[in-house]
Symmetry: C2
Subunit: 299 residues, 2 copies
């Protein structure tokens, strides 16, 4: 089954202590779509300007990503520029030019509205809701978010969370949302907002799922060097949804393994700028790391 | 087989945002010894003053801890007082009275010198070395440390590390020692200092082992509430060494499971002030949490 992925499609200029790379393919939907494409067909919904490099369209194409829902409008593509500190954990935004993204309204082609698996990657929660309003009867809806929406659009976000099967956020966002320092206490509170599955991402410390079968402690794949962590969280949710959409059996049976696959794709994402590494991985390399994660956690 | 545990034996006065408790049984050796006692006989080496409460001697006794190496000297027992912040991660020292600990020289009774499993719990690295100098042919020597010794006794600590089978430290200490932000890069550098096994503790994020069979990602047991994390790291190494000392088979075969047991005892430690919770656990409760950790990480 295919996954519908809605989010931002952007150009990222990224500076790290070692190097800098201008106008990389970025945005939550780009990272998530490429990650999901290793497991299932992807329908991408987003917007780019007429300055969007043709090579990036080709790149979507190589990953067999359906682009019917990708609007190409006169104007500039959303451009984000950021800089990472030495420890690669903290980053600061140098520049945000919204361009055509400023007035983006995600309108779904007919066929897209029947999608069973929907990933609302990080964009404004009002837009995420707008997508949900167009869906017919999705089987499984997951959404990611970011601190910005907790700061400026909390009521919208809370309305959205109620309608989700799975809500995915990182540990600092979970703290901001619940005022709980303890991640398990935070998970409990977030369940009360609606979703059956809550996943808290903890970067290099892995992630935690809370669902009907209890908790799952999902490890991060051990990396000695992080080249660029931008998009790792998006790759995680993308890989997760791609895996879920094609796996046999129930969500409950598959979601742990789906997180492991998401975690593995996210690890590759960190090994290159933008999607440079992610676009070059093979299925065999993914399976290799999944096996290693199994070995690394067995006792 | 028994474990020889050398370290501090202290009285801890601990303040948390919710409550405060004066003159609890504390110190690295006390926590480690009680944790180890669930798995193997323990020989404790330390020093206390003549003000040391009889009930704490009784408590050691109840855990069948050999006290031949516990010196009781005229004067005051080492007293530490600290306060935790709301998130229970950061603590500050309010007071340190060394008392008889100031001139402590760990002298091993004859029988102790033949111990096979030796845990050098956190004390000055010169004292840890002094213990090692008295040992005859130990099979497995592990040591823990703290940031203080990295600051004021680094040359001593480096000499000690060379002589260890296993070195255990927390993530911020690993960063301080190696200047590496990445935990896997830090592990690699620490191996070069000597030890075959290096374990980095990451608090609620679990711990990572690096050894001849590669990495092991050891989860922390999920806790909703942390009453007092003091001694959790000591309980972890204590449980680990206690398990190793009695397990059949090679260290390589057992060390992962030993970390899981250590992690479980540490989780109990966090659920009460001082050793209040740890001293009340049963073997069945430990096994229950080990089983749960296995379920929580399976995929």
């Amino acid at each position: 089954m295919s996954v519908l992925i809605v989010g931002s499609t952007a150009l990222d200029s990224i500076k790290t202590p070692k190097t800098e790379n201008p106008r990389l393919l970025g945005g939550s939907a780009s990272h998530a779509a490429i990650a999901a494409s290793f497991f299932s067909p992807v329908k991408l919904v987003g917007v780019v300007g007429d300055d969007f490099p043709k090579r990036y369209i080709q790149l979507y194409k190589r990953h067999r990503i359906d682009r019917e829902g990708l609007q190409i409008l006169p104007g500039k593509t959303f451009h984000w520029s950021g800089e990472y500190e030495v420890n690669m954990n903290n980053r600061r935004t140098l520049l945000t030019e919204l361009g055509v993204f400023e007035t983006f309204v995600p309108t779904l082609p007919n066929l897209h509205q029947k999608s069973q698996f929907v990933l609302l990657a990080n964009i404004a929660p009002s837009l995420q809701q707008h997508v949900l309003n167009q869906m017919q009867r999705p089987k499984f809806v997951a959404a990611d978010t970011m601190d910005l929406w907790l700061n400026i659009a909390l009521p919208d976000l809370l309305k959205l969370i109620k309608r989700l099967d799975a809500f995915i956020l990182n540990d600092s966002e979970a703290h901001q949302l619940t005022r709980e320092d303890n991640v398990f206490a935070a998970l409990k509170k977030i369940h009360k907002l609606g979703p059956k599955y809550v996943i808290i991402k903890k970067g290099s410390h892995g992630s935690i799922l809370s669902g009907p079968r209890g908790f799952f402690i999902c490890p991060a794949y051990p990396l000695h060097t992080i080249v660029d962590p931008t998009g790792a969280g998006d790759s995680f949710v993308g890989g997760l949804m791609g895996y879920l959409a094609t796996a046999q059996g129930s969500i409950d049976e598959n979601i742990r393994r789906a997180m492991i696959y998401g975690s593995v794709v996210a690890s590759f994402c960190c090994e290159g700028f933008g999607v440079m590494r992610t676009t070059r991985i093979t299925k065999a390399q993914i399976e290799q790391r999944v096996k290693e994660l199994s070995r690394l956690t067995r006792f």
